[in-house]
């Protein structure tokens, strides 16, 4: 079932929310924007935590809010993971989970044991929230939200209060969840990396308006964020074969191939691959080099910000795109042109181990 919201809200002080958006079913929809752009407001309206008259929210065939109706949040069966910890401080981890389980919607969903396994919580059960690290608390919060067997999940910058190391530890859990669940997930963040890692569809929001709706692959190579140092391209590949001798796996990428470190992959499986722009360099010739992934592409677009050291070049390969982060100095000296064939030398390839949607 898909979730949609139509809202036109005007507030004093100029903030306006003007959206008409439908989030697709069974996917991770990311809501991407800067702080203050309205992302959290939309989530709270979706969940019924804020009640502003005049908006319309519906989930599948059920109307959650319109001029005549308002379904309170406790009847919407939404699993909500807040940015700041909302674990009940007077209950242990087990107690927090009990709370959700006691009010669980009937009919399927992940069991308590499933969640303990997926999120690796079994050894934390007797602890109080105050005794857990930030990452552990969030895992518990996620488990608790899921234990109520919701019809959809909403996460409001769930990694926002974690350090990088904790984030890196949790992201795989979130990916695993996505695979185990068949319900829509709406994920709010202003961090591109998380979005690239988790999302299927990306909705960009700015100043209360939706400014773009893209698949994550398209999102990765377009938009203003690509000038950030973490810019990366996401490409879709298929597993071809294993090169056991060198512990490498061969992926089919458009007409060519990519070699990645061997992982647990199944032949023929579709995978998503993240290629950071800073790991891509350009060359007019195919050299003898230790870099094993060299791809023939054409220059699609050059973005030169005019100041600073770097520029981004967008490359087309078949139907997909790559990004390369190069110095402006090189840009000027090598005189790249749009349409020019060029080799992309890729140093690092990160397997995102997700199914394509």
């Amino acid at each position: 079932m898909s979730l949609s919201i139509q809202a036109r809200v005007e507030r004093e002080g100029g903030f306006e929310l003007d959206v008409n958006v439908t989030f697709p079913d069974r996917q991770v929809s990311a809501l991407f924007g800067a702080s203050g752009s309205g992302k959290s407001t939309i989530l709270r309206l979706l969940a019924g935590l804020d009640h502003i008259p005049g908006i319309r929210v519906s989930f599948g065939d059920t109307v959650w809010q319109d001029t005549k109706t308002f379904v309170p949040p406790n009847q919407r069966h939404i699993g909500y993971v807040f940015q700041h910890l909302n674990l009940f401080p007077h209950l242990s981890v087990s107690g927090n989970l009990d709370y959700a389980e006691a009010r669980r919607q009937s009919g399927g969903g992940l069991s308590r044991q499933d969640l303990l396994d997926i999120l690796n919580l079994s050894n934390l059960l007797e602890k109080l929230p105050g005794q857990l690290s930030g990452g552990e608390q969030q895992r518990v919060a996620i488990a608790r939200a899921l234990l109520s067997n919701p019809d959809l999940i909403v996460m409001d910058e769930p990694l926002g209060s974690l350090d990088q190391a904790a984030k890196n530890r949790i992201l795989p859990y979130l990916q695993r969840l996505h695979r185990s669940l068949e319900i829509p997930i709406i994920y709010v963040s202003h961090v591109v990396d998380e979005i690239l890692y988790l999302a299927d569809t990306v909705f960009e929001i700015s100043a209360g308006k939706i400014t773009g709706e893209n698949s994550v692959i398209d999102f990765s190579v377009s938009g203003t964020h690509i000038n950030q140092p973490e810019a990366a391209a996401i490409v879709s590949c298929r597993v071809r074969s294993e090169n056991e001798q060198h512990s490498l796996t061969e992926l089919q990428f458009e007409d060519t191939q990519l070699l990645v470190s061997a992982g647990q992959l199944i032949n023929g499986e579709s995978v998503r691959v993240k290629i950071p722009a800073r790991d891509v360099s350009l060359s007019r010739k195919r050299n003898e080099s230790s870099i094993i992934n060299v791809i023939a592409t054409t220059i699609e677009h050059i973005h030169d910000p005019g100041t600073g050291a770097s520029a981004v070049v967008k490359l087309k390969c078949g139907n997909q795109f790559l990004l390369a982060l190069i110095t402006r100095k090189s840009l000027q000296e090598l005189h790249f042109e749009i349409g020019e064939p060029i080799f992309a030398q890729i140093k690092g390839v990160a397997l995102m181990t997700q199914h394509d949607s």
Partner: protein, 236 residues
């Protein structure tokens, strides 16, 4: 004569107990309502204005002399006026000179001692916790008992103890509307006053000392429990 003082003791405890129960039932929703202030918007203007009026009203009994409250209560209880008339036709007796009249007077007089600590405790609650419970499927009543009450335990205990102790010490109101009936309205403070007026200082000392001791012990324990709480959990 000692027997009648024991009856007074029992009456006092009964009055304080019943009044506290009444305050728990009526004062808790009032304290909750006052603690929830919505952000400025057209819809909440009326609600906030109402709260701005009710809040000082609730605090009035702290500053008003009990004789003022007692005076108005005596008038209100009179069968010549509406509240007294309604009570009379419903029960056949007057509110004045009855235990229930004292309960009404005490509930009004001890109201701020119950509502204010509880209101403070409620306002300190993190809203997101309650929202999280809502998203987990807890209805408003469910959230109240499963989450708010345990988290505001300290506020509840302070409110209950203060209103109980305050009612035990009540005098002015009972003097004005009680009528000094031995089995119904002669509470300890009135018995003490009687002894003093009759120049029976020996008995007066016993009662006064007892009341003083009780009040001190109550407060002492309250502070002690509160200190232990501060060092223990970090809930509100």
């Amino acid at each position: 004569m000692m027997d009648s003082d024991l009856v007074s003791l029992w009456l006092t405890l009964k009055l304080a107990g019943v009044t506290t129960l009444v305050l728990i039932v009526l004062g808790t929703p009032l304290a909750w309502w006052l603690s929830q202030r919505s952000r400025a918007s057209e819809r909440s203007w009326l609600s906030n204005t109402l709260k701005n009026i009710v809040e000082p009203l609730v605090a009035l009994p702290i500053v008003l002399p009990p004789t003022v409250v007692g005076f108005y209560l005596l008038l209100a209880f009179s069968p010549d006026n509406l509240p007294g008339e309604l009570w009379q036709s419903a029960t056949g007796t007057t509110l004045a000179f009855s235990f229930y009249g004292l309960v009404v007077g005490s509930a009004i007089y001890s109201l701020p001692f119950y509502v204010q600590p509880l209101q403070v405790s409620f306002s300190a609650l993190q809203r997101e916790l309650i929202e999280a419970a809502a998203t987990l499927g807890a209805s408003p009543l469910d959230r109240f008992f499963s989450l708010i009450v345990p988290l505001c335990r300290r506020g509840f205990i302070i409110a209950i103890c203060l209103s109980f102790a305050h009612t035990v010490g009540e005098f002015g109101i009972v003097l004005m509307i009680g009528g000094n009936l031995p089995d119904e309205t002669r509470v300890l403070s009135i018995a003490l006053f009687d002894h003093v007026e009759a120049l029976d200082y020996g008995k007066a000392h016993i009662l006064a000392g007892g009341l003083l001791g009780f009040s001190f012990v109550t407060l002492f324990l309250l502070y002690a429990v509160d200190r232990r709480w501060q060092h223990g959990t970090r809930t509100t």
